[in-house]
Symmetry: C2
DNA sequence: TCGACTTTGTGCATAGCTTCACAAAGGCAC
DNA sequence: GTGCCTTTGTGAAGCTATGCACAAAGTCGA
């Protein structure tokens, strides 16, 4: 007989679930601030904008942290999700590229409150180096490797122009970084074992435009036929 | 015998495909700039960072625009994808909330080049109203409805603080907008027929932290057992 | 202690997405 | 023409994610 009792989490939480955990965490933090002690999957699902069965299944991947007939303890669930996401530890983040976007990111409050500490701001432009932003002095991009090593940076945010992104990417990987958040509109080539996530602001707008166009064209019937004699 | 020859596109392109079309478009534009005339699904897939079978299936949803043995005509494919996404027309976009992020978005070059025209910048803070950013003068948020109607705004970008987002959202919907890009860290409640896409900068970092933690913990074996006597 | 009530956790069916693998289609050399 | 070579477009299989629906488990009042 196999004893298999506590086993809080299986190795291997589905990606779709991982992507939603931050959402739940945000909703839970809001509830905690308002003094809510426990919450049902139904209420939490509404607050997070998902289906309650999905929410329960997601949480079941972390372990069995609810109480039947009652719901989930808000504080305890915050702790468990935070731990699963690795937010109970402190992550040193460097932002490379201090243009408009880099500044916005440096000033964004949502990082610090979740265990992400901005440990360095770097830029290649001498006019920007030395500026004080969000309490940090911008350093020259030449310092990249030394900043990463001295301050234990493990996540790098790329907010450089597209042309510089791959080069900076190569350097941070050589310096040992294996997690990169890329805002530059290029596909980065990276070796196995390095995680890249990308955010492209214009992609989201294009997806909206697609749906907006569909609405405007009005339903299933399309009067307009596409031109055969189109430039080719 | 059923004649079924031109039928360029089925109604109903999968969401996953729509989300990748902008990626292909970006890769194709790069190739066009470098003077490439035709491209195989294999090369385009590499440039876009996806599997080539997936790319071909995605494109097949738009129609049959390739030539067997040759590949795809770059210019023609750019045209077809742009048209499908609705980028051959001009979209008037208003940005509400001109903080760091709103400024970064207003200055972001990736919009104008894809048919998105910033038609208005609005903010509730009198200190910001009147500033000139990216060639536009910031207007007071009270003007929201009139700006939307007079300038034919069909997409609104929310870059307000979380507390203001729902209220602004309600107003733009009342003014007839049905496509919203939300950067505020809240779940917006909207009626059916309104599309909301959200970008949460801190969610991406949290997902990276999750994977980074996994790597650090080293493989399938977990020495550390989770504490039973945890605060509850 | 018991029974009514609430809510979780999950088996199962379904839907959607990804990937493989290959026949069909077209170009090109000779 | 003809045959070879390349590359598309897609059927089919496998995988992942979603959502329903309900048994199991726990609370709470009497």
């Amino acid at each position: 007989m196999i004893r298999r009792i506590p086993q809080p989490r299986d190795r291997g939480i589905p990606d779709a679930t991982v992507a939603r955990l931050p959402l739940y965490l945000r909703a839970l933090n809001g509830m905690a601030e308002r003094g809510t002690a426990t919450v049902s999957s139904e209420d939490l699902a509404v607050a997070a904008g998902v289906n309650s069965a999905k929410l329960r299944k997601d949480l079941s991947h972390l372990g069995s942290y609810g109480t039947r007939g009652v719901g989930y303890d808000v504080q305890y669930l915050i702790y468990q999700i935070s731990r699963e996401l690795g937010l109970t530890q402190d992550w040193a983040v460097a932002i490379v590229g201090v243009g408009n976007l880099g500044r916005a990111l440096a000033n964004y409050g949502g990082f610090a409150s979740r265990g992400f500490r901005i440990a360095g701001l770097l830029d290649a432009d001498p006019h920007v180096v030395g500026d004080r932003i969000a309490g940090l002095v911008v350093e020259h991009a030449d310092e990249l490797e030394s900043v990463i090593k001295k301050r234990g940076v493990s996540i790098v945010v790329l907010a450089t122009p597209a042309t510089a992104a791959q080069q900076v990417c190569d350097r941070v990987i050589a310096a040992g970084v294996t997690s990169i958040l890329n805002f530059a509109p290029v596909v980065l080539a990276v070796p196995d074992g390095v995680d890249v996530r990308k955010v492209d602001l214009s992609i989201e707008l294009q997806i909206l435009a697609f749906h907006e166009q569909r609405k405007a064209n009005g339903g299933p019937i399309m009067a307009e036929e596409w031109p055969d004699g189109v430039v080719m």
